[in-house]
């Protein structure tokens, strides 16, 4: 474990934890403007989390330790994940942290327990959410793996830190094929965070529920932890996409000034991406559940195309 990674391990999760809820709110705000509403304040998500933290947790009598264990596990998993994605600077990799496959499977760990938590209360909603979420995850997984494999193909490494050490310092992506991967990464971001056209985060209607249904039985501080974990997941996936398509300004050195600039630039770039996500979400309609695999195939196609171009070029 080297000093650069230690510093990274202290700063990066903290940065992600503090900034992540802001982008949940920003997307909501953009969607509200698109609908000629004003929408909630930018800091509303923080207030909500604070309020939830102070509320008591109510458990269904049929629920077990799984439901109490899941929120803590999810947030811990996502915090470990935040060691994998360089947001403010790229450290020297250490101990295999940053391995892209481990990152993928940490997300799977989080999903596995969320789904179990959904089944735990014994209500039909939770079960429905778990069932849908695991089914859709199964179909998106090959796409995610192939997209990450495409990243590994282009950037010739399995480690996210090494990959982004390569792209850092360039203004635009170092290879045109990365643009193709970015399309896949964008779709993955939409799917993984449960946004339209996959899932509608703004409603609690049975027809649309996937992610919301699984955590419907969670209350109080547990819900706060889950919401925070969700925000972190979105922020980290945004981070991977941004570092791939717009790496400008990402620092590779440990220098207070450079790190500050890097962090600030990242906040701006993430803001831009959040606006794009918000606009995208406002312009599409919810797809039927069984039409979704077709949407994923699009992402799969672009990643596979990337690999093919890399191989044949």
């Amino acid at each position: 474990m080297n000093t650069s990674f230690l510093l990274f391990a202290l700063l990066n999760p903290l940065f992600a934890l503090l900034a992540a809820p802001l982008y949940m709110a920003l997307i909501r705000k953009v969607k509200a403007y698109a609908q000629w509403r004003k929408g909630p304040r930018l800091f509303q998500v923080y207030y909500d989390l604070k309020k939830l933290m102070q509320k008591e947790a109510v458990y269904s009598p049929t629920s077990s330790w799984v439901m109490r264990f899941t929120p803590y596990l999810n947030l811990s998993t996502l915090l470990v994940c935040s060691l994998f994605v360089p947001l403010i600077f790229v450290p020297e990799p250490a101990g295999g942290l940053g391995n892209i496959i481990v990152f993928l499977y940490l997300l799977a760990l989080e999903r596995f327990f969320t789904a179990l938590g959904g089944l735990d209360a014994g209500s039909a909603f939770g079960g429905m959410g778990s069932s849908r979420s695991m089914s859709l995850a199964a179909v998106i997984e090959p796409t995610m793996v192939v997209s990450f494999a495409a990243l590994a193909f282009v950037l010739k490494s399995l480690n996210l830190h090494r990959m982004f050490a390569l792209t850092a310092g360039t203004v635009l992506p170092i290879s045109p094929t990365l643009v193709l991967v970015s399309i896949s990464l964008f779709i993955i971001l939409i799917v993984e965070t449960g946004r339209l056209p996959v899932d509608n985060p703004a409603t609690h209607l049975e027809l649309t529920m996937i992610n919301e249904a699984m955590i419907l039985e969670q209350t109080g501080k547990n819900l706060a932890l889950l919401e925070l974990a969700h925000a972190l997941k979105q922020f980290l996936l945004m981070g991977i996409l941004i570092n791939t398509i717009l790496p400008v300004g990402l620092s590779t050195e440990i220098d207070a000034g450079k790190i500050a600039v890097s962090a600030l630039l990242f906040l701006l770039k993430a803001g831009l991406l959040a606006v794009i996500i918000g606009l995208f979400e406002s312009s599409v309609a919810k797809m039927r559940l069984f039409r979704l695999p077709a949407f994923y195939v699009m992402a799969f196609f672009f990643s596979a195309l990337t690999i093919l171009i890399e191989v044949f070029a």
Binding site: S76, F112, L116
Partner: protein, 648 residues
């Protein structure tokens, strides 16, 4: 050093032999306990033996035993066999401890003793197959292994279901042996020796041995399309035996196949493509069929097919990368295949043992009838959870470590220069990823429906926690699953492989640390303001909630069944009996809609019918008259004399 190793191996063999003989001689509970104690002791001896061989790299060869003139019978161990002995030694302790209690649930006293004896014999046979230094010993013990497990499958021979399972298993295992004989004989013709290798022949000459051994070992390992015996045999056998069959016996077939492959100096590319294709298909079909399954043990059997598929995926990658000259990637895939074999042995035996406890406590194998076990059987459920997390390949358990090795190999296949091969590898990679994600969904379903929420039946509501040996038994592989995952990097380097591998110990430590920190932080900060409360949560206004309103197992897998509906094909079968010849008055009849048992109905039954027809024809020759038998013998002598050139 060698004397120490010899003592360990002979000690283990002696323990297993006496464990087989004792229960046959004396019928008492203590004898059975001793028998399982002996298998436990043998596994500890083997653990030391295999560990030493793997760590020091010594390859002991034991003195040959003359068997028949010209046919020697030798024992030998190298790093490959040591790895698989380690696998046996890791699974046996849990099974032995579990069986002490479990075997007592058998109906008759004789049945209990036979189970104890046969379990020991089964373990002994598997050990000897792995230790066999040449093909003769390999085949002899292979047959003993098959027969002892067949008898265990038939333990409840009066039930129709078990009879069918036993028969199916018997036929398939004989097909496997027949192909192995063919493969070994063709190798013998080539080399003139019964040794396994090295085989330095042009690949073309090895095509026949390769294909027949691939089929032979594939049948035993349960590769698609030869997998059909598993979902019959595993549920029929006692759970401790299912754990051994699925955990160890399938791996013995993997061992045999690897033993052959590794002795070849020049494999061909198409072999690798064939193995990888078969592996990917097995993995995918195994998990897709498992998703539809509602019988807990049959579901686990299908999941074994999936995992065998993953192992063969690794072997296929090894051959492909080997031919392409990418040594590091080939090593990575080979170690991945071996490590996944080891891991699967652990978590699948754990799951089968837990399933055995669940079935014992509730008296049903139907997932739909279970539920709520996390409260009535907390310890078993916790162990079940560990098994599910491992088999779903989630970090930081051992199941993840094995798949990570294979993923690493796949992701680095940019080093392959052949574009067509790359396309093939991308397809294999996506199928591999799909398998992994489906397995996660499968085990959310299995654990979620059996253990969580409300009990779905009276049987499940009245379930009680099993007694101690049946908890300590599965706890052993459970501990190995967690430790094997956390220390995977260290274990791999101890066994002498230099592989770039993420440190899962660090990952696990970070996860635990952050979890503890969050827990303490939130508990101390918010204690006064928000105590938690247990109360009814929102039920959409329905006053009482009954178990049948919960999500069911079939409901859970419905979306995936819809997505993969082309794989599950249904068939409508109607049968009717008529009162009159004109078939106008129906006496009785039935109509059923069921899944097409594709491989059974299109692959197995047509040749079986053909063979049956042919046998009927041949059986006419046997007419019971002595003079016609003399005629047959006479004709046979003439034909043989002409064929061998005796008249010339």
């Amino acid at each position: 050093m060698n004397i120490l190793l010899e003592t360990l191996v002979y000690g283990a063999i002696a323990a297993l032999v006496s464990g087989t003989v004792l229960p046959l001689l004396y019928r008492s509970k203590n004898t059975r306990k001793t028998a399982f104690g002996l298998s436990l002791i043998s596994s500890i001896l083997l653990l030391v033996f295999a560990g030493t061989v793997l760590y020091t790299g010594k390859e002991p060869v034991f003195p040959a035993i003359g068997f028949l003139p010209g046919l020697d019978f030798t024992l030998a161990a190298d790093r490959l066999s040591a790895g698989f002995i380690l696998l046996i030694a890791a699974v046996v302790p849990g099974v032995s401890i579990y069986s002490v209690e479990y075997v007592e649930h058998a109906k008759s006293e004789d049945g209990k003793n036979l189970q104890a004896a046969l379990t020991n014999l089964f373990i002994l046979a598997m050990l000897m197959v792995v230790l066999a230094g040449n093909m003769v010993g390999f085949l002899i013990f292979w047959e003993i292994m098959s027969l002892s497990s067949l008898l265990l499958v038939l333990h409840n021979y009066s039930s129709e279901e078990n009879k069918k399972a036993g028969f199916f298993y018997f036929v398939m295992t004989n097909i496997s042996t027949a192909f192995l004989f063919l493969g070994f004989i063709s190798l013998f013709r080539l080399t003139g020796s019964t040794e396994f290798g090295p085989l330095e022949y042009a690949a073309g000459e090895l095509t026949l041995p390769f294909l027949s051994l691939f089929v032979g070992f594939g049948v035993k390992a349960g590769l698609v399309p030869f997998h059909k015996w598993l979902p019959y045999a595993h549920p029929a056998a006692p759970s401790s035996v299912s754990a051994l069959m699925s955990g160890v016996m399938l791996k013995v077939a993997v061992y045999g196949f690897l033993r052959f492959l590794l002795s070849i100096s020049t494999p061909e590319l198409w072999w690798g493509v064939l193995i990888l294709t078969a592996g990917s298909l097995s993995a995918l079909f195994g998990v897709i069929y498992a998703l539809k399954e509602n019988d807990i043990k049959r579901l686990l059997a299908y999941s074994s097919i999936e995992n065998i598929g993953i192992i063969f995926t690794g072997i296929g990658l090894y051959v492909i990368f080997g031919v392409e000259g990418l040594e590091t990637l080939a090593l990575l895939s080979l170690v991945g295949a071996c490590f996944h074999s080891f891991n699967h042995a652990l978590f699948k035996s754990l799951l089968f043992l837990c399933a055995g406890s669940v079935v014992h406590a509730t008296g049903t194998r139907k997932i739909e009838a279970l539920g709520g076990l996390v409260k009535s059987m907390p310890a078993t459920s916790a162990l079940f959870m560990i098994g599910s997390v491992s088999i779903a390949a989630l970090p930081p358990t051992n199941g993840f470590a094995g798949e990570l090795l294979l993923y690493q190999a796949f992701f680095q296949s940019f080093a392959v220069t052949d574009p067509l091969l790359t396309v093939f590898l991308i397809i294999a990679l996506s199928s591999f990823a799909l398998t992994g994600a489906l397995a996660a969904a499968l085990f959310v379903k299995l654990f979620g429906i059996t253990c969580l929420a409300m009990p779905r039946s009276e049987k499940s509501r009245l379930a009680e926690e099993v007694r101690k040996p049946m908890l300590i038994g599965p706890a052993v592989p459970a501990a190995f699953c967690i430790l094997g995952g956390l220390f995977s990097k260290q274990l791999l380097s101890l066994a002498g492989w230099k592989i770039e591998f993420p440190d899962l110990l660090l990952l696990g430590f970070l996860l635990g640390l952050i979890y503890a920190a969050l827990f303490v932080l939130i508990r101390t900060r918010t204690k006064e303001t928000n105590p938690s409360r247990i109360s009814e949560t929102w039920r959409c206004g329905i006053p009482t909630v009954a178990p049948y309103m919960e999500y069911s197992s079939a409901g859970f897998s419905e979306p995936l069944v819809m997505i993969f509906k082309s794989v599950y094909r249904t068939k409508i079968v109607h049968r009717a009996e008529y009162l009159d010849r004109q078939e106008s008055l129906v006496k009785n009849g039935n109509v059923e809609i069921r899944l097409v048992r594709f491989f059974e109905e299109y692959l197995y039954i047509p040749p079986a019918r053909a063979i049956e027809g042919f046998s009927k024809y041949v059986s006419k020759l046997q007419n019971g008259k002595l003079d016609s038998y003399v005629l047959y013998a006479f004709l046979a002598v003439i034909v043989l004399t002409i064929a061998t050139g005796g008249f010339v």
